[in-house]
């Protein structure tokens, strides 16, 4: 009998896995949903980074976005938590084994409404964690209500006109001392993938606000969360490439003099190819300014907005052992009897 696998040999990465090994269950989101495209880029990024799936733990809250951890990397542990409270869930879990990498997928409802507090506190603690917001400016799973990132004056069927101004997730992250802030557009898969790869290498919190159009409830051509608007208004700050630590950098590929490199904690680099403006993503004030002018000018600014690779992460504040906490046995966890005698003598 003919062995099919012999004839179609899938490409394997350095850890011997094919791209299929990073897949999840088939998506139950709408056809054409931006979230599916992001899940695909997470798969590609992890495959290309040679990440072993069981070294990744996935988290989410509640909403359309939060369903997506099911749709990538089914060989990773995952926990689909409560609305707006994925950050706390992830924080507690990541302490169990700090050699694991954490990725969370949230939405604009999950992060910018009920979850804004946990979001900002996770950011300020600088937990090493890839935090993706699939931002479509609408509540999809409850069928089309305004979210906290919906633009002012947006009209939605059954809701009327949105009277409130939106929350800018990147601005909130920056204000809370985030050490990695990026914005992208689900319709720009290459940039999404490169940013995810960089985020995995950052030793701290990585915030990725990805505009991800909702094809069912919110894809009006004039709305800033639609494909058409995104395509027309996207202003990339730079062309962006991620270079893994072991890959030799051939700077010619990036035309010396037009590039800026950011070295991340693990030795990998982000190469930013200058476009029209010379944007320095390590300058926090410039980051605030570009977000402010984007708001004023109706631009969708994408790329790496801010990065500070040298801040201590949350784990640096805890002197944890090499062996993961969740593998410690009774000999490490229960103090000896003499210690209790000492305590009894103290009281």
């Amino acid at each position: 009998m003919l062995d099919q696998s012999q004839s179609v040999k899938p490409a394997l990465n350095l850890v011997g896995l094919s791209r299929a090994d990073y897949r999840g269950a088939p998506s139950t989101l709408c056809q054409g949903c931006g979230h599916n495209s992001i899940a695909n880029q997470i798969i590609s990024a992890c495959y290309e980074l040679n990440i072993v799936p069981d070294n990744v733990v996935k988290f989410s809250g509640i909403g359309c976005s939060s369903k997506s951890p099911t749709y990538f990397m089914n060989r990773s542990f995952g926990f689909n938590g409560l609305h707006g409270r994925m950050p706390s869930l992830a924080l507690g879990a990541m302490f169990a084994d700090i050699s694991l990498k954490g990725i969370g997928v949230s939405g604009d409802g999950d992060t910018a409404s009920i979850g804004i507090g946990q979001f900002k506190h996770m950011v300020r603690r600088n937990l090493p964690f890839v935090y993706i917001i699939e931002n479509n400016g609408v509540y999809g799973l409850t069928k089309g209500q305004f979210s906290a990132t919906s633009e002012k004056d947006l009209y939605l069927k059954r809701q009327g006109v949105n009277p409130y101004s939106p929350i800018d997730i990147c601005m909130e992250a920056l204000a809370s001392n985030a050490t990695f802030v990026a914005r992208s557009f689900a319709g720009d898969p290459k940039q999404v993938k490169e940013l995810i790869k960089a985020a995995f290498s950052h030793d701290g919190i990585s915030i990725l606000d990805i505009i991800s159009p909702c094809v069912t409830f919110h894809n009006q051509e004039n709305s800033l969360h639609s494909y058409t608007w995104g395509k027309e208004h996207e202003i990339p700050l730079h062309e962006l490439s991620y270079v893994a630590p072991r890959d030799e950098i051939t700077i010619e590929d990036f035309e010396e003099g037009t590039t800026r490199e950011v070295v991340l904690h693990d030795g990998s680099q982000i190469i930013l190819k200058k476009l029209e403006k010379d944007y320095d993503p390590t300058d926090r004030w410039q980051a605030f300014r570009i977000l402010e002018s984007a708001q004023k000018n109706n631009w969708l600014v994408t790329g790496l907005i801010y990065v500070d690779p040298d801040q201590p992460s949350m784990f640096d504040a805890y002197d944890l052992p090499e062996i993961p906490l969740n593998r410690l046995g009774e000999d490490k966890l229960r103090p000896a009897r003499e210690w209790l005698d000492k305590i009894n003598d103290m009281f």
Binding site: S88, F95, A96, L320, P321, L325, N326, P335, M346
Partner: protein, 613 residues
């Protein structure tokens, strides 16, 4: 008062009262009286006399009245009593009302600055020259008010016969050996005692005498005990948010973990404590850590527990082990944050939406706070569900005389957790058909893997949405029902492994008393009082929910059973009624709530009234 008046008083009352009275200290919150009161309590304890101390304090940092009561009882009854034998009045604002609480023949010590007249003639009053003594001492003016409290320590020591050497020992414990603080406080105490010896003519009947009733005992509070128990139970992760009266539990973890759980060789620690941004986050972190295989806990009080409800429901349904300490205070709402209650029983038993139930443990002493501190983790991981330890302010924050802590008598039980090799064996056993939520042993408890397990078959996605035995998303009606029934079976299993009630009997008693938690000393003392009145009682102290058969048998074996508790609605009785409707007519509610610990007198009188006596 004249000498003759004093003689009249003492002649109509017992001439001498030794080791059986109550002292209440009335001070202004924030004036530093806690040190003085604790030192006196410990000195009496070091003299071998059974003592208890209760702090009645306001929700305030500085300025409002606060009281501290020490009960000295040679028989070892240490519940709250409502009478005052001795009042030390240091707060002019409450001076007049304080006098009213004294028993005839009682003693009033007060600062001689107070100009309010002493209105009763059946008490003995001693003015204390607090200002004069502190002025003569070498004390910086900023510390004078604080150290002024040491004046009453010295005068009381002289009046009652408290050993000054024991007071020095108590200062040493309180200030953890810091010589400067010990010396400056002791100097004031000594000078005050000398002043009293030279200037006070003792007219009252109260005194203390050394005993040998505290050997083998320690003096500590339930929050410290709970934290230490958790540390000996191997706590690995704790997230918390400050709230009275639970904060000191988490703070005790912070105090003792670095001493007890740091690897001496490597200097690495085997735990992480995080102060969360609120209780919603604290419980989220604890669920995450428990899910990923850490012994995980939080500590809070009613308002915080209300915020935790939704995550507790997720932990129940997705079967995540974790421990919550509820140090109860008076609710509803913000209620009386600094007063004690047992008002969270019903709401906590069913705390989340949908069909849920929770394991509750009720420590009835500081020793049980320690024991449940470690045992709660074994139960939570054994049953893969949240365990909520129901303490309260009285137990958690007040100082109690307790037997020395006992080292855990069983090894740490991590429950049905599968690491790589275990999973290989499991797959062999099940011929590759293992699933996270499969009940393989018929006890309703499945096997779990945790993040960081690198076996290719270990990973699964945990969710609060409908899921089947393989942890796959499911909306199938029969799957939902099957999983919920299996969870119900797990709680049946729980009934057999949770702490059994403690039953104390009297021969031929037909009347039963059921109680839980911190009311234990009042109930035990009330039983002695009732027996003196001719009413014998048996006593069943419930230590866990859901109920076990022993409690049901106890109720069935008695004509009537009184359920004693600190809340308005009789919440423990509510649960008993739900669980054993057939026996509920035999149950009678004895509950009230005013923020204070129950007294034995109140319990006795309620039961006598209900008995028609």
């Amino acid at each position: 008062m004249t000498q003759t008046q004093a003689e009249t008083i003492t002649s109509t009352h017992p001439a001498k009262v030794v080791n059986d009275f109550c002292i209440t200290f009335s001070t202004v919150n924030g004036s530093g009286s806690a040190t003085a009161n604790n030192v006196l309590l410990r000195a009496l304890f070091e003299m071998g006399i059974p003592v208890s101390g209760k702090n009645i304090f306001p929700s305030n940092i500085q300025g409002l009245p606060t009281w501290y009561t020490i009960r000295i009882n040679k028989e070892g009854f240490l519940a709250r009593v409502e009478r005052d034998d001795i009042v030390v009045a240091m707060n002019p604002a409450t001076f007049t009302s304080e006098i009213g609480f004294l028993v005839p023949g009682g003693v009033l010590l007060y600062s001689d600055e107070f100009k309010t007249p002493v209105t009763r003639e059946d008490i003995i009053a001693y003015p204390m020259p607090v200002k004069k003594i502190t002025r003569e001492m070498d004390v910086p003016p900023t510390l004078r008010d604080y150290i002024g409290n040491m004046v009453y320590v010295g005068i009381l020591a002289q009046l009652l016969g408290i050993d000054l050497e024991k007071i020095h020992q108590a200062l040493d414990v309180h200030f953890k050996g810091k010589q400067k603080a010990i010396n400056s406080n002791y100097a004031v105490i000594e000078a005050s005692a000398q002043w009293a010896a030279a200037n006070l003519f003792k007219k009252d009947r109260y005194s203390v005498e050394p005993m040998n009733a505290t050997a083998g005992y320690i003096l500590t509070d339930g929050n410290t005990a709970g934290a230490l128990g958790a540390i000996f139970g191997g706590v690995q992760f704790s997230a918390w948010y400050p709230i009275t009266p639970a904060s000191s539990l988490a703070e005790s973890l912070n105090e003792y973990l670095p001493q007890l759980r740091k690897d001496v060789k490597t200097g690495k620690v085997t735990y992480a404590v995080v102060q969360a941004e609120d209780e919603l986050a604290a419980i989220g972190m604890v669920v995450g850590a428990g899910w990923a295989g850490l012994r995980s806990m939080t500590s809070t009080s009613g308002p915080g527990l209300s915020l935790m409800a939704e995550y507790l429901g997720l932990a129940y349904y997705s079967e995540v082990p974790l421990v919550v300490w509820d140090v109860q205070r008076v609710g509803p709402s913000t209620g009386l944050p600094t007063r004690t209650a047992q008002g969270d029983i019903t709401s906590t038993y069913f705390i989340s939406h949908g069909d849920t139930e929770f394991i509750l443990l009720f420590p009835g002493s500081v020793n049980e706070c320690f024991e449940f501190g470690w045992r709660a983790f074994d139960l939570a991981e054994g049953l893969q569900t949240p365990v909520i330890v129901m303490s309260d302010l009285d137990l958690g924050m007040n100082e109690w005389m307790a037997k020395k802590f006992e080292y855990p008598d069983t090894s740490i039980n991590r429950g049905k957790i599968l690491w790589e090799d275990d999973l290989d064996k499991m797959l062999e056993r099940t011929k590759g058909d293992w699933g996270r939520y499969q009940d393989l042993d018929g006890d309703g408890i499945p096997y779990r893997t945790v993040a960081g397990n690198h076996h290719p078959g270990a990973a699964y996605l945990t969710r609060g949405t409908g899921h089947d035995e393989k942890a796959r998303y499911s909306e199938e009606p029969e799957v939902w029902e099957r999983v919920m029934k299996r969870l119900g079976l797990k709680f049946k299993t729980a009934r057999n492994i949770l702490p059994k009630p403690v039953v104390h009997s009297m021969p031929d008693a037909r009347i039963g008393i059921i109680a839980c938690g911190s009311t234990d000393p009042a109930v035990e003392e009330a039983r002695v009082m009732l027996a003196r009145e001719g009413l014998k009682t048996d006593y069943c102290r419930v230590r866990s929910l859901p109920l076990c058969q022993e409690v049901i048998d106890f109720i069935a074996a008695h004509d009537r059973t009184y359920v004693v508790e600190i809340n308005r609605d009789g919440q423990l009785k509510q649960i008993l009624t739900l669980e054993i409707p057939g026996l509920c007519t035999q149950l009678h509610q004895v509950s009230h709530i005013d923020g204070m610990p129950l007294s034995a007198r109140w319990v006795k009188e309620q039961i006598l009234t209900l008995e028609g006596k």
